[in-house]
């Protein structure tokens, strides 16, 4: 015995310790107790809440939720509502443009910054700061810049181009693009950052190899780098897509759904039905449709991402 004689004097008895497998439930008991808030949030709030809403979307709940079955009536009404159809169409336009725009701008900016640019830190700070601002602030400032009497349009006209017209917020045909300008301004910085991290993660030897093989810069990006960044693109795609479906605050702040109903979006439809119109059943049905949309987006991603390998 090395240091003291008294060590483990009590350990001499045969079969001293717990010789039987402890009860499963009490194993790791501290960890389980500590995880209770998470378990509650996951099971009751997220899972329970979602199931509750889906179930109640098949009822005729009005001012208060009630379990009187109404079959698919709410959904029929939903798909017959012009406002909902406009919302869906708007979300589709905004979604496609925002997805492509954010990816293209985000990647281009990242690629430009990755060319060993002087002052990269300053530029990155400028590109990303809008992301720190809320959609409310974003919506309000762009509402102001796009104001036809005092904003961009009047400035350009003041410089001599009298016929210049750029008034998206009052033109129902292009109002979604007014929102898009603000949305891209707010969100592209994040994607740029993620793309930049992805670019920095690529082995420098790849670039050397491409140079030795005589492949041009643009071609190297398209043929070599982008395919290598597939996971980064997939993550960005999911981030952008899940953000698009939640689009709400920006619309409220920038256009309030106007002019008329021409910039309504599904999330706003849900909020109006549930908290404005005392038409809970409609709100539940509409939010269930939103869930379905997300599932359609998420399931292929999950298969792509976790299909082959199982982690953890």
């Amino acid at each position: 015995m090395a240091l003291s004689e008294a060590a483990h004097a009590g350990a001499q008895t045969e079969q001293g310790g717990p010789s039987h497998k402890p009860v499963r439930l009490f194993k790791n008991i501290s960890a389980k107790i500590a995880s209770l808030p998470m378990v509650f949030t996951a099971l009751v709030v997220f899972l329970g809440g979602t199931i509750w809403t889906v179930v109640y979307s098949f009822t005729d709940s009005g001012l208060l939720p009630r379990l009187r079955w109404d079959g698919l009536d709410q959904y029929e009404r939903l798909w017959n509502s012009r406002k909902w159809l406009v919302s869906i169409e708007n979300l589709a336009i905004y979604g496609v443009c925002s997805l492509i725009g954010t990816l293209v701008i985000g990647f281009t900016l990242a690629a430009l910054l990755d060319r060993k640019v002087r002052g990269e830190g300053v530029l990155r700070t400028i590109f990303l700061y809008p992301f720190a601002l809320s959609f409310i602030v974003t919506g309000l400032v762009w509402q102001w810049i796009l104001n036809p009497q005092l904003g961009l349009q009047s400035v350009v006209r003041g410089m001599g181009w009298e016929s210049f017209t750029f008034d998206p917020l009052n033109n129902s045909k292009i109002v979604m693009f007014g929102l898009l300008i603000a949305g891209l301004w707010q969100g592209t910085g994040l994607i740029m950052c993620i793309m930049l991290a992805g670019l920095r993660g690529i082995d420098e030897d790849i670039w050397k190899a491409a140079r030795v093989d005589g492949i041009g810069t643009v071609k190297t990006y398209i043929r070599v780098i982008i395919p290598m960044m597939r996971p980064v693109f997939v993550t960005s795609l999911v981030l952008i897509a899940s953000g698009i479906v939640k689009l709400y605050d920006l619309v409220v702040a920038q256009t309030s759904g106007g002019p008329g109903i021409s910039s309504e979006v599904p999330a706003k439809y849900v909020m109006t039905a549930m908290f404005g119109g005392q038409n809970l059943g409609q709100g539940f049905a509409a939010s269930t449709m939103m869930l379905v949309t997300v599932v359609i987006i998420l399931v292929p991603w999950a298969i792509l991402e976790f299909g082959g390998k199982k982690r953890g």
Binding site: M38, W52, T125, I136, V137, S236
Partner: protein, 313 residues
């Protein structure tokens, strides 16, 4: 580029080998090549697009109303006035209350502090339990949590109204705090889980051999090692909760208790009266000030935080 690190070896090689015709090492970049002009030109134009709104906000908020109506929004103020800021902070009206955004500001602070503390505490323990003390089903709960982050919040809004009402918390700041804790849990738990998972497992094993338990390892070993990730999580939560509009408008029933974003929207988008653009922009800036200060102060950590949260998600 005059990078001393790349120039020095070149010079050294030349010193040893004076006969070398061409310098080795990276070719020094010409400052005014065509590609460079294109590159910097593009970047500067784009940077202006990004910087413009902030500039417009500041400039407008410092002008008087007559000057706004006359001039153009990009022009710097001829006469700087802080009156719009004072008015936005202390006098602007929402409904019957005319004590300005200060009310919303203090509401937001009262929501922010407990929400951030509780959510960071809960998320760090979650992440720790999930990475080091996995138990049967822990991964399932975590997966549900993560899926919850991608689902439109609208689908859970009403059931939460019912839960809060049952608990007697609907409409109160406490209720909103709990909602923020719940919805902040996925991303922050993920962040902490990934961070703790990157700590060598042997450290955890060594602590267990040394007789430390769940809480002892957390407080004595893991916490002192995880300051950076706490800062990242803090930044994410402060900006996220400060910028929230949806939960504030849903779970706060009285305008007295509205958080700043909701109050701002009500002030600016109220239909009555003449629009005071300078006051509106001052109010908008005031609301954006907290996340902006955090953003500019934290610099790299902010980027790291969102990138870490996003890329690994």
């Amino acid at each position: 580029m005059a990078n001393p690190g790349t120039l020095a070896p070149t010079a050294a090689v030349n010193a040893v080998n004076p006969d070398l015709d061409e310098p080795r090492g990276p070719k020094p970049r010409k400052a005014l090549s065509r590609t460079n002009i294109m590159l910097y030109g593009t970047l500067i134009v784009v940077a202006m697009y990004y910087a413009l709104p902030l500039y417009v906000m500041v400039v407008t908020s410092l002008k008087g109303m007559p000057e706004i109506q006359m001039g153009n929004i990009f022009a710097p103020p001829l006469e700087i006035t802080f009156q719009p800021w004072v008015k936005a902070w202390a006098e602007a009206c929402t409904g019957i209350n005319c004590d300005g955004l200060s009310r919303g500001f203090w509401n937001s602070v009262r929501i922010l502090i407990p929400s951030v503390i509780i959510s960071v505490a809960v998320a760090s323990v979650n992440g720790y339990a999930l990475s080091m003390w996995k138990f049967k089903g822990s991964e399932v709960f975590f997966s549900i949590l993560m899926i919850g982050a991608f689902i439109p919040y609208q689908i859970m809004l009403y059931p939460i109204v019912i839960m809060l009402r049952e608990a007697g918390l609907y409409g109160s700041l406490t209720g909103l705090v709990l909602v923020h804790v719940a919805f902040g849990m996925p991303i922050n738990t993920l962040l902490f889980r990934n961070y703790f998972a990157s700590i060598p497992e042997e450290l955890f094993k060594a602590a267990r051999v040394d007789g430390a338990g769940f809480w002892s390892i957390f407080f004595r070993i893991m916490l002192p090692m995880s300051l950076p990730i706490f800062v990242v999580s803090l930044i994410i939560q402060v900006t996220g909760i400060w910028n929230d509009f949806l939960f504030g408008v849903t779970y706060i029933s009285s305008p007295d208790r509205y958080p700043m974003t909701v109050q701002l929207n009500n002030i600016v988008n109220s239909v009555q009266g003449v629009k005071e653009y300078n006051v509106n922009m001052a109010a908008t800036l005031l609301t954006g000030l907290v996340p902006l200060v955090i953003y500019f102060a934290s610099g790299k950590l902010f980027v790291r935080g969102i990138a870490a949260g996003a890329v690994k998600g």
